[in-house]
Symmetry: C2
Subunit: 243 residues, 2 copies
Amino acid sequence: MHKKNPDIYFLSENNLPFSDFLHFGMSTDCVIFGYKDKSLRVLLIQRGAEPYLDNWAIPGDLVYPEEDLDSSADRILQHLTGLENIYFEQFHTFGRVDRHPVGRVITVGYYSLVRTDNHKPVASTWAKEVKWFDINELPPLGFDHEEILQKALANLRKKVRTEPIGFELLPEKFTLLELQGVYEALLNMRFDKPNFRKKILSMDLVTPLNEVESNVAHRPAKLFNFDKERYDARKKNEISFEL
Amino acid sequence: MHKKNPDIYFLSENNLPFSDFLHFGMSTDCVIFGYKDKSLRVLLIQRGAEPYLDNWAIPGDLVYPEEDLDSSADRILQHLTGLENIYFEQFHTFGRVDRHPVGRVITVGYYSLVRTDNHKPVASTWAKEVKWFDINELPPLGFDHEEILQKALANLRKKVRTEPIGFELLPEKFTLLELQGVYEALLNMRFDKPNFRKKILSMDLVTPLNEVESNVAHRPAKLFNFDKERYDARKKNEISFEL
DNA sequence: TCAAAAGTGTTCCGAATACACCCATGC
DNA sequence: GCATGGGTGTATTCGGAACACTTTTGA
């Protein structure tokens, strides 16, 4: 697969043979966010192998030789959650020379948003345990995963202000107060209920359903869903989402 | 350097030997933006080697075995522009299986902002020519560089709205109308002069100097500089920049 | 004196905020 | 009834947009 041609595509100043440049390991790590009980959570695994045996870590894997980066992330997500069509997004690549004890492994960081209600993460040979952690009560992590996780969170918090991805954390049908809870957890701030409602409704991106909550000890709330088609159509015309 | 341990850090489902996962090439590509004559420009090189001989391309290079990703980008920028302390930022990593004709090479994309007034880019063995192109008059590019360039531009346009990086395209001392020109070119839109002034001045991030333009056929404009210290101090207190 | 760009002030409008209040349900 | 959260209306404030106007320089 790798034909050799020492003059190709790098500065002439260095005298290293071309083959020395093809010994990188490549992995993807997926920071999986969920939402439950008014707080933001992250799915972590407890490692079942050295290095960092028994340490908590962000789920990830080496990239296969004939696999795109996004496919790799998608594969990890499906393995771990059993879900398809999960929202995920590449956010940063980490390549410190000494970041991996086994060799020069570059990792591409992804974050992902899942609806925690409809899946049970499962342990496997490479992960002794899989568990949701509140974003404010994280265990120590192996590798450079603390840095990766914090950067994922920072990127998510930026993204969430300009694109309507908060919905990915909720079931298809949700109430406006649930949506408010998601944004309060994501951004770690409080919103005024009437104003939040007005803002969301004025965007005209959520559709009211002819359905309400049931079995609640108060007036049942109306259910809504997110109108992705309308958003996509509008995005083409340069209209954006801002919170 | 690469100790072998087939069980480490990847899903048990695959049966490929560990060594197969350490044959990635790794490069960085730097999309260098500049500003001149009211328009946004990109610095491209004309390749002096196969593949894509004579094609225009984004400057880039393979990452050295003992080199961090950021160092690699920094090295490319210094080689090409001769400048130090250039603003640059990683924005996306491109890893399509077939993106590089020579083998599996993953590239980390960076964009960079430079002051075009104080440097002359120089050709070298790996680049027949180096030239600034108006962002609206780009030549066809080799590899997947069109995609990389467009993504760099999109990321820059987002970033520029929330962080005061437009100053990196201007000399230390600039007029407010020059600053307006930068933002108009970056965002491809027009601002109202009085309102733009008010907004910038109200942020209190530019300091008026006791100096004015000279040799202009109209009332000379006051010169300002960007107060990075004040911005950094304020950033810690969660106060942000928004245009 | 005229052109060209610097620089200021004022009005208007819409969006964000604060907050008071009423409604429906389970117990 | 009453606790709980759902849901609505209004008054106020603040920032952005539009735009008219004055100032200073070189030629």
